[in-house]
C-alpha cells in the first residue's frame, strides 16, 4: 500500500506546504524510513536537474537561420539608454552648435524683416537680369535634394547606433535648419529677387548638408 505522504514529498521539498502540513510531514518523516529515503532521492533528482549543462546542437543552425532574417528591420524605437554610449560628438559641442545655429537663423530673419545691413545691399536690377528666385529653389543644385534624401535615409537606417542624446540634438538642429529654410522660401515667395534671402537659403541648405554628413560620419566611425 502506498504511503499517502509520499505524494506530498515534492511539495515539502519545494516549501509549498502550509505550516500545518509541513509540521505533519516532518513528524511522519521522523518515523518513516521509506519516505526519508525517497525524499533523499528526490533531492538528488532536483540537484541533477539544476546542474545540467547546456549543450549545443550536433550541427550549426546558423546557415538555416540567417536566410530567414528579414533585412528590412523597423527602426528601433525603444532601447535602454544605459546600454552603451557610442558617440564621439560631445553634448556641449552639439548644444553650442545648435544654439549658434538658431541664433544665426533667427537673427538673419530679424535683420531681414526689420531693416539693417540687408537694406544696404546693392539692389538687383530686375530689368537686366532674370530674378534668381523665379527658378525653383531646387534648381540651384539639381542634385541637392537627392543628396539630402540619401543622407537622411542613411542616417535613419543607422539611427540606433547613435546615443539617444545625440539623436535628439541632431534632430533639433536639423529642425532649426529646416525652419530657416522654410522661412527663407516663404520670404522669397513674396520677394523673389532678394539676394540676401537667396544667400540665406543657400547657407541654410549648406548647413543641413554639412550636419547630415557629420551624422553619417559618426555612423561610419562605428561600423
Amino acid at each position: 500500500m502506498t504511503d499517502p505522504w509520499t505524494d506530498r514529498l515534492s511539495e515539502y521539498l519545494d516549501g509549498d506546504l502550509d505550516p500545518a502540513e509541513h509540521a505533519a510531514i516532518e513528524r511522519h518523516l521522523a518515523s518513516c524510513d521509506g519516505c526519508t529515503t525517497t525524499l533523499a532521492e528526490l533531492r538528488d533528482v532536483v540537484a541533477r536537474a539544476a546542474a545540467l549543462p547546456a549543450r549545443p546542437p550536433a550541427s550549426d543552425l546558423w546557415p538555416a537561420v540567417e536566410p530567414r532574417l528579414d533585412p528590412v528591420k523597423s527602426v528601433v524605437t525603444a532601447f535602454p539608454p544605459r546600454v552603451t554610449r557610442r558617440v564621439s560628438f560631445t553634448l556641449p559641442q552639439l548644444v553650442a552648435a545648435g544654439l549658434a545655429l538658431m541664433v544665426m537663423s533667427a537673427g538673419g530673419m530679424w535683420v531681414l524683416q526689420h531693416g539693417g545691413p540687408a537694406t544696404e545691399m546693392p539692389k538687383v536690377d530686375a530689368t537686366n537680369e532674370a530674378p534668381p528666385a523665379a527658378l525653383p529653389v531646387s534648381s540651384v543644385d539639381p542634385h541637392y535634394d537627392e543628396a539630402i534624401a540619401d543622407l537622411e535615409q542613411a542616417l535613419a537606417a543607422g539611427r540606433s547606433q547613435l546615443d539617444p542624446g545625440t539623436i535628439k540634438i541632431l534632430e533639433s538642429n536639423l529642425g532649426a535648419i529646416d525652419n530657416a529654410i522654410a522661412q527663407s522660401r516663404q520670404a522669397l515667395a513674396s520677394d523673389p529677387a532678394n539676394v540676401y534671402l537667396h544667400s540665406h537659403l543657400a547657407e541654410a541648405r549648406q548647413r543641413k548638408l554639412a550636419l547630415l554628413r557629420r551624422g553619417i560620419s559618426l555612423l561610419d566611425g562605428k561600423s
Binding site: D7, L9, S10, E11, D16, T38, E41, L42, D44, V45, V46, R48, A49, A50, A51, L52, P53, A54, R55, P56, P57, S59, L61, W62, A64, V65, E66, R68, L69, D70, P71, K73, S74, V75, V76, T77, A78, F79, P80, R82, V83, T84, A157, G158, R159, S160, Q161
Partner: protein, 185 residues
C-alpha cells in the same frame, strides 16, 4: 499569446550580457546578431531539446532565433537580455505545443508511462543518462519538470504558460521526479 509573467528564473542569468551586440543587432546588424546567436545557442537549444524531448529541436531553435531577430526592437532592458531571450524561447515552444492537440491531451496521462523508463544508467556519464531519462518522460511531466527544476519557473507561471492549474503542475512535477528517481537508483 499571453506573455509569461515571470520575474527571474533562478538560473536565467549566468552568461555575460552582450549589450553592445544587442544594440547593434536591434539596429539590423546581422553579424552582431550572429554573435548573440552563437553565445546563446547552447542554452536555447538545450531548453528547446529538453522541453520537446528532442523532437524538432533544431527547427524550433531556428524559430526562436528568427523570433528574437524580429522582436529585438521591443527589448527595453526591463529584464536582462538572457532572461528576455529565454522567456521568448519558452513561448515559442509553448506555441508549438498549443498547436498540437494530441500533445495537450498527453498532459493528463502519465501513470501508465511510469514503467516505460529504462532502468538504471549503464554508463558513467550521468549527465547524458539524465538527459536520456528526461527524454523518456511523458510530455506533460517533462515540460513541467524542465520549466520548474531546470529553468527555475514557479508553478503559477507554469500554470499560466500551459493553461493548466497550479495543482496539475505540482502533481506532474512530482510524477516526473519520481520517475527520474527510479531511473537513477
Amino acid at each position: 499569446m499571453e506573455a509569461l509573467a515571470l520575474v527571474s528564473p533562478a538560473r536565467a542569468v549566468s552568461s555575460a550580457e552582450a549589450l553592445p551586440e544587442v544594440a547593434r543587432a536591434a539596429g539590423g546588424d546581422v553579424r552582431a546578431f550572429e554573435e548573440l546567436y552563437r553565445r546563446h545557442l547552447p542554452r536555447v537549444h538545450s531548453l528547446v531539446r529538453r522541453m520537446t524531448g528532442g523532437r524538432d529541436a533544431d527547427e524550433l531553435t531556428q524559430d526562436v532565433f528568427v523570433r528574437v531577430w524580429q522582436k529585438l526592437g521591443t527589448f527595453r532592458g526591463d529584464s536582462s537580455f538572457t532572461t528576455w531571450l529565454h522567456r521568448l524561447a519558452v513561448n515559442v515552444v509553448i506555441e508549438r505545443f498549443r498547436s498540437d492537440q494530441a500533445r495537450r491531451a498527453r498532459l493528463h496521462d502519465g501513470e501508465q508511462i511510469f514503467e516505460t523508463l529504462a532502468g538504471p544508467p549503464q554508463t558513467v556519464d550521468l549527465g547524458m543518462d539524465f538527459e536520456a531519462a528526461l527524454e523518456k518522460l511523458p510530455d506533460g511531466a517533462r515540460e513541467i519538470f524542465v520549466l520548474h527544476d531546470v529553468e527555475g519557473h514557479k508553478h503559477h507561471e507554469i500554470a499560466t504558460l500551459l493553461e493548466i492549474s497550479a495543482g496539475t503542475s505540482k502533481a506532474q512535477l512530482h510524477r516526473a521526479r519520481m520517475m527520474l528517481r527510479k531511473h537513477l537508483k
